[in-house]
Amino acid sequence: MMTQPKASAGALISTIGLFKYFGDTLILDDINLTVQRGEVVVLIGPSGSGKSTLLRCCNGLEIAQKGIVEICGERLSQQGQLLPERQLDALRTRAGMVFQSFNLFAHLKVIDNITIGPRKVLEQHAEESRRLGLELLDKVGLADKADAMPGNLSGGQKQRVAIARALAMRPELMLFDEPTSALDPELVGEVLQVIRLLAAEGMTMIIVTHEMNFAREIADRIIVMDRGRIVDSGTPEMIFGSEANPRTRSFLAKVL
């Protein structure tokens, strides 16, 4: 019997040999990725290169037909099989996710958007979760919006609430799926500022983004994807420097 390859120790996220298809289209083509605790990894690459799909595989919103995903030392999925629902739900609380289109719960006040997870999933007391929620709102600069409805917020404010909502679960890692792509240009800065704050606190993060300057500034490591493959990987200096591989340089030439 073939032994399963073991994910490297100390890694918070690791994927081994991920292959994913949508129908006949190959979306992820042999992805091997390891993210250490405290590391900030930024995924860049052309649209349709599989960045978001890879990110979504890291919390089981998508499932790869082949390969293994491990997060927080537990096996999330292997060869197209997700963990059983209960364990999956428990594991998901440890990985926060921020979406391009915010996905705030439209029927709940800002503070309830943040506290509903701690209350209903972690079974925290209402008072404690509210105190924590207000603290987080303060952290993202929205202490005065606790009782607002999401529909009355700007895009940048919505995304900051979404980040606070994810943080309320006290996750060990954060996944950002193009967090600023749906924002007006003048609102991008306020969201990036919050992500910087998290990086400074040592949060482990994978960030999919088209903000190249931000990627260069915040990443410990940049991974370049193209047509479902990781084509380049290295420090910002390497990726944005002259020794980067030709595909990276041609991608960067188009976006910079």
Binding site: A90, R92, M97, N103, F105, H107, G151
Partner: protein, 222 residues
């Protein structure tokens, strides 16, 4: 010139009101049954990958939406006793109306639930909510605003369809009216009075739901 004589209506006002009360009781209980069952069946038809559940729920809608209410009522009232099951007429009325209406409500529910953005579901699952909790706390509350207008239509149909329960010997307003006609022969006046009563009932329900809908909107739920 038609010679109106509303005196039979006035003289039998008490029994008409009593019939109205019965109609309201049957309709109210049917609505509860219809909404509860309609919600469950609607949710059951959301996920086609759960074959058995989906199949049972679809079959339910197929049968109860596809056959006349009158036939269903007669089966409950006249058909079941052949199996030794005799239900009281009130119960037959409630079950007949409730199950018939639930098949429509389930489609309303299904449509509204499917209209909630997929991102809401993903965001809830991403913070570790189970399917069930996501449905209860995130999806259903947002679908309710979209359920209300078509549900209002369905409730109005339910009230009007309830006239048929007089045929399974429930002493509703229709039945009381026919009793009065059989003695007084004033059909037009009595049916006009009955029509007016149904109009008041349907109007009240639509006002009630309108108020509820407005309240949800002022709470900021879109």
């Amino acid at each position: 010139m038609i010679d109106f004589d509303f005196s039979p209506v006035i003289e039998n006002f008490g029994s008409l009101m009593h019939g109205t009360l019965i109609t309201v009781e049957v309709v109210a209980v049917s609505m509860i049954l219809s909404c509860t069952l309609g919600l469950l069946v609607g949710i059951g038809r959301l996920d086609t990958s759960r074959r058995l559940l989906y199949g049972i729920c679809s079959f339910y809608v197929f049968i109860f939406r596809g056959t006349p209410l009158l036939v269903q009522l007669f089966i409950w009232y006249y058909g079941l006793p052949q199996f030794g099951i005799s239900l009281p007429s009130f119960l037959c009325g409630v079950i007949g109306l409730g199950l018939y209406s639930a098949s429509y409500v389930s489609e309303i529910v299904r449509g509204a639930l499917q209209s909630v953005d997929k991102g809401q579901h993903e965001a809830a699952r991403a913070i570790g909510m189970s399917r069930r909790v996501t449905m209860r706390l995130i999806i259903v509350p947002q679908a309710i605003v979209r359920i209300i207008p078509p549900l209002g239509n369905e409730f109005i149909s339910l009230i009007k369809n309830s006239a048929l329960i007089s045929l399974v010997t429930i002493h509703d307003i229709m039945h009381e009216g026919q009793q009065i006609i059989s003695v007084s022969y004033r059909s037009l006046e009595v049916y006009l009075a009955i029509g007016a009563v149904y109009l008041v009932l349907t109007w009240s329900v639509s006002r009630l739901l309108r108020t509820f809908e407005n309240r949800l909107h002022t709470k900021g739920i879109q």
